[in-house]
Every structure is written in structure tokens, then in C-alpha cells.
Amino acid sequence: MKVKNHGLFILTLAIMSGLTACGAAPADTPEQSAQSGQTEPDGETQSQPADVNESAEAALPIMGDVIQYDPNQPVNDGNDIDIEFWYWTGAANLFQSLADQYQAVHPNVHITLVENPYDDYWTKLPLALQGTDGPAIFNVHNSQHDNLIGYLAPYDIPAEDLEAEFVGASGHEIDGKIYYTDYGLMTATMYYNVDMWEAAGLTEADIPKTWDEFREVAKKLTIRDENGHLVQAGFSYNGGIQGDVLGMQYQYGQNLFTEDNKVTLNNDAMKSVIQRLQDMYHIDGVCDYNFGNNSGDNFGQGTVAMYLGWGFMTNVLEQNFPETHFACFEIPTPTADVPYAYHRYNGESTFGVNKNAPADQQTVAQDIIRFFLANDEIQKEFCLANAVFPAKTSLQNDNDLLAIPSISVLADHIDRYIWPGTIPSTVEDNVKIMLEDVFYNGKDITAALSDAEQTINEDLANLDFTSQEPMYKYASEALQ
């Protein structure tokens, strides 16, 4: 028992030091704790581990600024409780770390982490949530909003508090309540191979700001052999660029959705975007459609010099292609002027609380949510692991996060990235078909856009979708 208490004491001290290191914790000192209404240690000596452990717990600083978490408050009245926390594969260490840190503060809470393959997760989870024995807390992806929202309990944190600290939280507000929000913002940046860049005689000064400049750079980075066969592509989008095409039209001021929440694809902005992509291959010759089917992998393998990838690509490259020396620059724009929006972003979502779970489990789940949101160290850990720009304003100047190239290039204009809302899968699916019809099957751009627009709008008619574009800070600048 004594050994156990010693271990708990050391663990608690470790967490304390971790929390204290967090710059956002307002109550770093006993004095500050006293100001914030915390009970001071009662003076018992540290030579008595069991008692000191209780004292140390009482001295844990309150986390957070607007959203605060008091780790000294017992959960479930200190009684043992088991809850399940579901997430999809690929982040076991991250969720284990969160569970460990929470359980270290609240050893009476036993969190069982349940991992599911990504595709299975989205059928198993909603079905599990229909009963009372589903997970109390679970990982959310906003693409599944429509299927999940009916099972979610609103956060017990006021919406205005979340909106004060988390960028984009207002877009998640439903009838004054927030059921989940974003902890990180992910978007596309241009990855480039530094070695190829230097070999082509390019310097930092050559980093392109406009698409015209970009095309010139891409041509310089393209290498062909004596027979004209492509050896190194200056830029490739083979294997799918639908996720990016859905963001590029914003650069022209063109929203993706109309006021009545229908998609608009058959417009001049989208035609310009697709025509430019096609011209890069057909006119500039910076790549061709037979030069690999996965431009991300080809970039990592060293046959492609530039690649437009989302933030997660940073981790993919570091894990799968550690020898690739890469850097990032912000996505180019049609002109040197600041665009309506550089691109769209999508959020990495915070967790959901199961409204059908037993009340005591829901209370614990809400407590974990607050612990997660108030704790800058955990927020940072999640953002680093996913290479996403932090939604929490207190972390947006964090040096460790800004050291990630795909994050740092966004820092100056993060407010110029737009969130269109939880885009239903039919949009991206049909844009993929449209692009393949244009790029691989030679279909006319206007006809392809028209067909895709019609199909998507037929599907949207059966879905409860509301665009968040009107919530964008610069929405008034959009083309009317």
C-alpha cells in the first residue's frame, strides 16, 4: 500500500510539474492558488507520503484561463467508476496519454480505451450510441456530424467561453450550445523538397506568392531525360486533389455554397481552378497523369518536387519518408493581393459526450472534456501529434508548434482560412468523379462541373446541411 502511495505521489508531482510548465495555468504558486479560491496545503510535512499525497493533490493548480479546470475537485464523489472512451486507429499513444494524465488526477476513474478501424468506427459507434451501454465519451470527426449529432450531449461549458478561447467554436454552436468544437485547424500547404529546390538554383526569395510565379518555379523543378521522359515532376496532384479544389475557389471570392445551402461548382472561379491545374500538365509539362498515382507518396519517394498536402502530411513524411528534406510555403493565390480566403480548413474535433450514457458516466465525460480543453499541455500534445494549427488562442504563438513548417506558414493569415461547415461526403465524392472525368477521361470542364453540381444538390436535398460560410469573418467580401 505504501509503495502504491509513493508511486501516486511521484506521479502527482510529475503532473504538477507538467501543469506548472504550462504557461496558461494562472495559479502557479500557492499564493495564486489562494487567490483563485484553492485550499492551501494544511502544513503537514512531506516526510509522510500518504498524507502529503493528499496535500499535494489539494495544491494542484487550476488549469486554463477562461475555461478552467480544478483538478482538486473530486469526480463522482471520489467513488470508483468505469467509462469507455472510443477512438479510431492511429492515435493509441495520444489517447493513452490523455487517459493516463486524467486518471493520475482522478485515480477513481477507470478509462477503458476502445480502438476501432476508421471505417468500422462510423457504423459501430452510432449503433452503440443508440443503447445505454455505448461509450460515455468518444472521438468525433465532423464529417460524421449528421449521424452523430442526435446522440451528443451539449458541453456543460458555456458557448461564449469556448468561443472566447477556441477559433471557430461559434461555427459549432447549435441553439446556444456546443456539442463539440475544434482543437486544431487543418488545411493545405505547399510542401517542397528542399534538396531539389536548391539543386534547381532556387532560394528562399523564389518562394512563389501567386499561381503564375508557382508555375514558373514548377517548370524549373521539372527534369526530363534526353528522350523527353519525365524524371522529376515539378508539381504533381496525381491520385486526387478533390479536397483542395474544394478550397481553391475561395481565392476568387467564390463561396462553395449558395444562401439556400446548395453547392455551386459550375462557376468561373472553379473553372479557372481546374483549367489552371490542367494547364500545368498540358502546357507547362510539370507532370503527367502516368507519373505515379499517389503524389504524396511520390513526393516522399523523391520523384516530385512540390505537392499540395494537408497538415497530416507532415507526420506521414516524417514517419514514412524520414530522409525527405522538406519545407512548406503557403498556398499561392491568383494575385499578390490578400484573397477572400486562402483556402478552406477543416477542424480536428474535440470529443463527444454520449447523451444516452448513464448520468454518472456523462458527468465524468464532461469532466474529461473540461480537463482536455483547459489543459494547454494536452492541447499542444494533440496539435503536435496531428500537425494541426491550434484552435486555442493561447497556443497560437507556441514556439514548438510554430516549428512545424505546415503550421508556421499559416500563422500570419489563419483568419483568412474559411470553414464551410461539415461538408457531406457526396460533395467530395462527386468532385473526385468530376476531376477524374476531366483529367483522365477528357470530359469538358463545364459539362463535368454541371453534372457534379446537379448530382450533389440532389443528394443534399435529403440531408440536413447548413453552410457555415456566412459565419466567416470576411463573409461580406464574397462574390454575390
Partner: protein, 296 residues
């Protein structure tokens, strides 16, 4: 004349009870796992149905009207018929050729060949499909290396369906080989001896003896192949996702997309019921053409 085993009298009450239990179990099993899902799918086709959010809104015939007017549906149906016909044809032709070759007395180490031919059939489909994805890769893929070409097998509309067919035929021909080889081993040798005595050539023996004798087995392989190929979607999902564009959409892949990507289970149910009817009709026609359905 019915086989003797079927008309054998029951011996005891316990045997009657045991048979009744087994039959009841099979009826319940069939009803729960086959009949009820079919009924559920048919009913679901009249609804905007999403079981993941407990949604069931009556639509009447909307899903059916949408289906009949859907260009993608008809393309998928056309692709499915083409795919099933070509894959089945090559499965049978390869199966016949290789089973006859293996049956020949000239071939040694027959067990080795049988194992080699059957290995693709028992390998996990998803795993081998990923391997074939690399084989089909442009520029560095094994197939292009062997042919000295640079064809984008999976993204060129002229070749994408062919690529899926190559994988499918490679994966499945071993099954036909083993089935037909079984048929060859059970043929009456005296017929062949008589034919040889009468001066029949090897081709004549194959045409007028082997093929008719193998007809029930061939029919079985054809029907099971068609049923299987009408439900194919994994190679499409892994290799092309229906692309480029919609060039390789098969009916089952369309159903998968509607149900598990768009969660449009009502429309997917209408599609599934049509597929069910197509397979049922095709099976009936196959029996009719053979005229020996009960021999299976």
C-alpha cells in the same frame, strides 16, 4: 427415379425428432439470415432510411424512380454484366484447359500444380488486391515492366476495367480448375475406351464426351461465378474507387457507396433489390438453358 437414400424409411421416433430439429434449425437460420434481410431491404427501399441515426422517412416510390432515371445506375448495371460475363468466360475456359491438362497422363507432379493454381483462390482478396495495385502501377509497376509499356492501368478508362478483370480471373481460375478436375476424375472411362476404339480424335472425345459429361459441373461453376461476380466490389474499392470518373462502377460498389459512404440505405436497398432480382432471374435462366437443374 429418386435416389434410394431419400426414400429410405424413418427408423425411429428419435430419428424423426432429430431430422425435424435439424430442418427447423435450417428454416430458422434461413429465415433470420436470408429471408428477413431480403424483406427488410425491400421495405427499406420505400424509405429515406439511415439506421445509424434511426431515421426512416416514407418516400413511396422515390428511390425506385431515382434508380430508373440514374445514369450511374445503368452504367453500373452494364459494367456488371460485362464484368460478370468476361470473368466467368475466362474462368471456365482457363479452368477447362488447365483441368484437362492436369488430367492428362503426360503431366507429372500434378499435386504441385493443383496447389499452385489454387493458392490465389485461398489468399485474402483485400491483401492480394493491394499487391496487384502495385503490379498495375504506372512507371514502376511489374506489369508495365514486363510489357515494356507505361500504361496507367487503374486511371486510364481504356484499361481500368481490364485491370480489375485480370485480377479477378487470376484470383478465381483455380477454383474452376479444381471443380472441373473433380468432374474429370468421376467420368466413366469405358465411354472413352469405346470412343477410342471407334476412332474418335482427341478433339472429338473432348467435344462429344468430356464437355457433355462436365456440363453439370460447368453449369454449377457458371452460376456460382455469376452470383459471385454480380456482388463484386472489393477490387473496385481498393483499385479504382469506381474511377476514372465512373468507368468501373459495378452495381455492388454503387450499393456500397450509397450505403456506407452516403448512408443512403433506402436508395441502396432499392439498388440491392434490383441486384437480387437480376441474380435470381439469371440463375433461373441458367437452369432453364441447361434443362438439368435438378442434377445440381
Amino acid at each position: 427415379m429418386k435416389p434410394a437414400a431419400i426414400s429410405a424409411p424413418l427408423r425411429s421416433r428419435s430419428e424423426v425428432a432429430l431430422r425435424s430439429i435439424v430442418v427447423c434449425f435450417l428454416i430458422v437460420f434461413f429465415a433470420v439470415f436470408y429471408l428477413l434481410p431480403v424483406i427488410a431491404v425491400f421495405i427499406g427501399s420505400f424509405f429515406q432510411w439511415n439506421p445509424l441515426k434511426n431515421q426512416m422517412i416514407y418516400l413511396g416510390l422515390d428511390n425506385w424512380v431515382k434508380l430508373l432515371h440514374s445514369e450511374l445506375f445503368w452504367r453500373a448495371v452494364g459494367n456488371t454484366f460485362l464484368f460478370a460475363a468476361v470473368a466467368t468466360f475466362f474462368r471456365i475456359v482457363l479452368g477447362l484447359a488447365l483441368s484437362n491438362a492436369l488430367f492428362s497422363k503426360l503431366i507429372k507432379h500434378k499435386s504441385v500444380y493443383r496447389v499452385l493454381y489454387y493458392i490465389p483462390t485461398i489468399t485474402p482478396l483485400v491483401a492480394v488486391t493491394f499487391v496487384w495495385k502495385f503490379i498495375f502501377a504506372p512507371r514502376i509497376g511489374l506489369l508495365n515492366q514486363m510489357l515494356g509499356t507505361n500504361i496507367n492501368w487503374l486511371f486510364d478508362g481504356k484499361y481500368a476495367m481490364a485491370a480489375i478483370l485480370i485480377l479477378t480471373i487470376w484470383k478465381d481460375f483455380g477454383y474452376a480448375v479444381i471443380m472441373l478436375l473433380g468432374g474429370l476424375y468421376s467420368r466413366p472411362e469405358e465411354c472413352y475406351e469405346s470412343a477410342e476404339v471407334d476412332g474418335a480424335s482427341a478433339w472429338q472425345r473432348f467435344r462429344y464426351l468430356t464437355l457433355p459429361l462436365l456440363k453439370p459441373t460447368i453449369l454449377f461453376v457458371v452460376i456460382t461465378s455469376l452470383i459471385s461476380y454480380f456482388q463484386t466490389y472489393i477490387p473496385v474499392l481498393v483499385l479504382t474507387q469506381g474511377g476514372p470518373g465512373t468507368q468501373t462502377y459495378l452495381a455492388s460498389y454503387l450499393i456500397y457507396e450509397e450505403a456506407f459512404s452516403k448512408y443512403n440505405f433506402g436508395y441502396a436497398s432499392a439498388l440491392s433489390f434490383v441486384l437480387f432480382l437480376m441474380i435470381a432471374v439469371l440463375t433461373g435462366v441458367s437452369f432453364k438453358i441447361s434443362g438439368k437443374g435438378d442434377s445440381l
